[in-house]
């Protein structure tokens, strides 16, 4: 177990340290997320009755686009500096490399979401939060990070990586986004039947599937 946890923590520490030094992901994604909130607020001119219908959609679409920006950077720094080969040359399992990247992306995304959520809440006049929303955010973000890390690795090897990632990512993650919107709708909306007990297990099942399949595909792609 130590042969997994130890290198996992080392890679996560390195990625967080690099982000603290360069600040090239978190700040730009925060600005992008805030701009999305402002654009949606003015473009849709939402009245209080509509909020319960569309707030969850606006928030999750914004989080998904912000996630894309984070995942675009997941392997770019490694690729640009050739340090991905350095990682692959070290005597650690490919699964550990993959899972460390998933966890780093997850940490960055959940941080961004935690900062953006109050902003969206203020703009959309949402004031009822619950543990369901927190659970939805954690499970959905884990799905984003797992699928996104795999496709980020695939995209970084292509010439048009910025386009490839969303094209690969959204079709696969769509059920999770729909689940997240439906699960959080009950959280924001007045008069909505709470449907989290249907949608949260679905997101969890997708996460579990992704967490089994994606590391295996990553290991195969790395060897090829």
């Amino acid at each position: 177990m130590n042969s997994i946890i130890h290198p996992l923590l080392i890679i996560i520490w390195k990625d967080i340290l690099l982000e603290i030094r360069s600040k090239d992901t978190i700040i730009s994604v925060l600005v992008f997320g805030a701009l999305l909130a402002i654009v949606f607020n003015f473009a849709l001119n939402i009245n209080p009755r509509q909020i319960s219908e569309i707030a969850a959609g606006i928030i999750w679409v914004s989080f998904a686009f912000s996630a894309i920006l984070i995942m675009n950077r997941t392997f770019v720094r490694e690729q640009e500096q050739g340090s991905l080969d350095g990682l692959l040359l070290s005597p650690i399992s490919r699964d550990v490399i993959f899972l460390s990247k998933v966890l780093v992306s997850f940490l960055f995304m959940i941080t961004i979401e935690a900062i953006l959520l109050p902003l969206f809440a203020a703009m959309l006049n949402i004031n009822n939060f619950s543990w369901i929303l927190l659970a939805t955010m954690v499970l959905t973000t884990l799905g984003f990070a797992t699928v996104g890390t795999l496709f980020s690795f695939m995209a970084v090897k292509t010439r048009s990586r910025e386009i490839m990632l969303p094209v690969l990512f959204f079709p696969i993650i769509l059920p999770v986004i729909i689940g997240a919107i439906e699960a959080s709708r009950g959280s924001f909306g007045i008069g909505y039947e709470p449907s989290w007990n249907r949608w949260l297990p679905l997101i969890a099942i997708f996460d579990a599937l992704f967490l089994v399949i994606c590391p295996w595909i990553f290991s195969y792609l790395v060897e090829e």
Binding site: P7, Q81, G82, S83, D85, G86
Partner: protein, 233 residues
């Protein structure tokens, strides 16, 4: 120059374990990229303590061969035994036993020299990391740049640090892909000192180079890769 007591001890354990005088054994190696064959039925035996210089024109497959040995890319067919380990069955054990200097330095620009070495040292689960880092930085003459970020080093210094990264875990085999490129005479001297230390302590080196003079002077054996076939002396 640092003592080579620990590497010799490690090497004796490896050699006793595998009862082999061969550091690298390659049989019938083939590799193509699409329809283009790059390496065709390559056979090679490198003994412990030997230095093999590989020559060949651009595109002759030198880098591909080193990448296959480093398990960075997979061969289409053939058997590779490194330090007694079959690459197909135990690539992680092989990765622990090799140090690679490639065309890229495999370092993080925003980390300092010491932090880069610390990162790789921890990945290799090395003991006494601080002591090793100081020793390696001293060997590649970067002791006074320990706290400098990699991005602020010159190209030659980055290459020396890349060499330091490759020898940090005291690997039994060094794979050097044109390591002399961009190095001044002093840095070449450091590279030569380290390679001499490696072979004198019965560890082995494969180095690709376009510098025939340097390759002939430093190596024990010479190989020429041409049309996917390796000819050795």
């Amino acid at each position: 120059m640092n003592s080579s007591v620990i590497p010799l001890k490690i090497l004796k354990i490896i050699m006793a374990k595998h009862n082999s005088g061969t550091a690298i054994s390659i049989q019938g190696l083939k590799k193509s990229f699409g329809a283009n064959p790059v390496i065709w039925d390559l056979n090679l035996e490198l003994k412990w303590g030997k230095f093999l210089a590989l020559f060949g024109t651009n595109g002759s497959g030198k880098t591909t061969l080193l990448k296959i040995l480093a398990s960075q890319i997979q061969a289409d067919s053939g058997q590779i035994i490194i330090s007694g380990y079959d690459q197909a069955k135990n690539p992680r054990a092989i990765r622990r036993n090799i140090g690679v200097v490639g065309h890229q330095h495999y370092l993080y620009d925003d980390l300092t020299c010491a932090e880069n070495l610390q990162f790789y040292g921890r990945l290799y689960n090395l003991s006494q990391i601080s002591k090793r880092i100081n020793s390696v930085l001293s060997r590649v003459d970067l002791e006074q740049y320990s706290g400098w970020k990699v991005r602020s080093l010159s190209h030659g210094m980055q290459k020396r640090l890349a060499l330091g990264r490759a020898i940090l875990h005291e690997p039994a085999i060094l794979l050097l892909d044109e390591p002399e490129g961009g190095l001044d005479q002093r840095s070449l001297g450091i590279l030569h000192d380290i390679s001499s230390e490696w072979t004198s302590s019965m560890r082995s080196i494969i180095m690709t180079t376009h510098n025939h003079d340097l390759g002939n002077r430093w190596s024990d054996n010479i190989g020429i890769l041409s049309n996917g076939i390796l000819r050795t002396d």
